[in-house]
Chain length 321, copies 2
DNA sequence: CGTGTGCTTGGTAACGATAACAACCGGTCC
DNA sequence: GGACCGGTTGTTATCGTTACCAAGCACACG
């Protein structure tokens, strides 16, 4: 009991005893057992659980840092799990985190599979914040990037420059992909136009397949004059295809030499890319910080809104030429 | 007790009772308290603590994924902390992790400050693996990249191409920086050469300051014809400076147009860099996996070597042109 | 001198889970 | 019939910590 008192400030303990305890702690290499502490009622575990679909993706790594930064400033540690886009793994991670009595969860929901395990009543009262992607039918606080507006704005800029055949490279199965395609379509509809289905390519996962898709587009009888890509891998693949065609002296004449490119997410060297490029820029770290802030808001003493809140972070369109 | 039995397999519990328990667990949203479980003697916490100097650095993010992969395959979760190169913060993180009864620690030691908190006797018997950087006087298992050989090999390649004025962009205060500078110097000495101190720039932490340093080098009366950079931030900065000078029609004539670049660490889209670039490539994920494997080796039942072991992972030089 | 006050210290119980043991059941065997 | 066995269920004690209470002491006050 006296040791406990010393370790939590030393109130009402004789100075000499405090020193004796400190010495013993030092020589014995004693570390107070936080698991036992958190067992006592009223005590918090000081943990926040984070599941990410791919930790190695620099985008999510940056987000994770944002989460860690805010968690750390609230004296919390983060438990991290990689769901690998697998709902089953995500379910196990969430269950384990709750078992470890995390105070809250921040989840980038996996795109594949059922999300029943994220329903509030399955979480035993642990607050959940979804980051980057929303989940249908799950009423949880959510922080998103304004995918629709980002894609709409970038596409609208291409249309305003006079482009009428604009290709789309991206995804349709992932939440953000769907939203970005929606923005792409909205921009067209605002001008009473309709994107040509022939110019829409989805499913490219890496630079290689994106390059392949763009090469095919350039070989069309009526090729696109501009391309919007929904992520930086597709942007880089598109640029490669354009450069390769330029080098081989593109058969379609000069038109393929100056394909205009706009893409979601910036990347290293975006500003020295050999094409007229615009990027939809946003701060992954901010996404993490906002998600964490939303979580600690729920953990605070302030009266809570009962409804789930959704935050859409703004993006900016930057011309890099 | 019966519930406990059901949850740990259901041996010797009537089937009907098992079903009843399962239903109650479902409706109540019950999750077994892992902290309480780990309190019992003989039981393991299932946690591994990882401290990294900068989570947002894609290199360490990739390493973290490697650690997570191995930890996950051993049924362990990872607790992650960002030390921000601050030994004090690192000390707090390590103490907290031990307090949470992690089974082991993987630490990228911070470059600044005292490392007494990493001494084995201060860790209360928790095994420690140092990753990426060694610490003098700390007898812990260590996994390193072969920095010296990587830097020596890349520099030797530049020298073999005939370059005699090779700049160095990197660090000297960080363990890996010192080793890479050593390799850079060794390559020169092997040909009885000595690097020009004027061409050695240390201390650039980000792309911006690296670009600035490279710009200064290009403005020298006798500028370098090649540059070796000790990490990818410096490589990107150097490439930007070269491209910027090329665009402004470098006053030093054509020589600044084809500065040869070699750098430690690859990075996203390195192969689209508009310069003749070689990179010293190594797998950060592998670094993490090896560190984790070394840790679980110590945690296993096999008889343990008493001495600390050091592993140096090989690197490969890749020409990206 | 008795009582009250404040400081210091230690005893007890409780958090949740589970090994170890005890108790009870029905069935089998001698 | 009684001893024994295996399957099932519940009781007890313990892990490390700390809120709460009690006890002891020195000191001040009336």
């Amino acid at each position: 009991m006296t040791v406990s008192r010393v370790l939590s400030g030393g109130k009402n303990v004789r100075l000499e005893v405090q020193e004796r305890v400190a010495r013993a702690v030092e020589t014995l290499g004693y570390h107070r057992n936080e698991n036992a502490r958190s067992l006592r009622p009223g005590h918090r575990s000081g943990l926040v659980g984070v599941t990410i679909t791919n930790i190695a993706n620099p985008y999510y790594a940056e987000m994770l840092r944002g989460v860690e930064e805010i968690a750390s400033s609230h004296g919390r540690r983060i438990l991290v799990g990689n769901s690998n886009e697998d709902a089953d793994l995500e379910k196990q991670l969430v269950a384990d985190f709750i078992g470890r009595r995390v105070e809250g969860l921040i989840v980038v929901p996996s795109s594949a599979g059922d999300a029943a395990h994220l329903q509030p009543e399955r979480l035993g009262g642990v607050p959940l914040v979804l980051a980057s992607r929303a989940v249908a039918d799950v009423a949880a606080d959510t922080v998103l990037i304004d995918d629709v507006e980002g894609a709409r704005g970038a596409t609208a800029a291409l249309l305003a420059e006079g482009h009428r055949r604009i290709a789309y490279l991206g995804q349709r199965s992932v939440f953000t992909g769907r939203r970005r395609l929606e923005g792409f379509t909205l921009a067209h509809e605002a001008l009473d136009l309709r994107p040509d289905d022939e110019l829409i390519r989805v499913g490219q996962q890496d630079v290689g397949s994106a390059e392949q898709a763009m090469t095919e587009l350039l070989e069309l009888a009526d090729p696109p004059t501009a391309v919007f890509s929904a992520n930086n891998r597709n942007t880089v693949g598109a640029i490669r295809a354009i450069v390769a065609r330029r080098r081989s002296g593109g058969s379609a004449g000069t038109s393929s030499l100056d394909i205009r490119v706009a893409g979601f997410d910036s990347f290293d060297f975006a500003d020295i890319a050999p094409v007229r490029l615009s990027v939809v820029d946003h701060d992954a770290g901010d996404l993490g910080r906002r998600a964490a802030a939303m979580l600690f808001d729920r953990l605070g003493d302030a009266p809570q809104p009962l409804d789930a809140r959704t935050l859409e972070l703004p993006v900016t369109l930057r011309d890099l030429f």
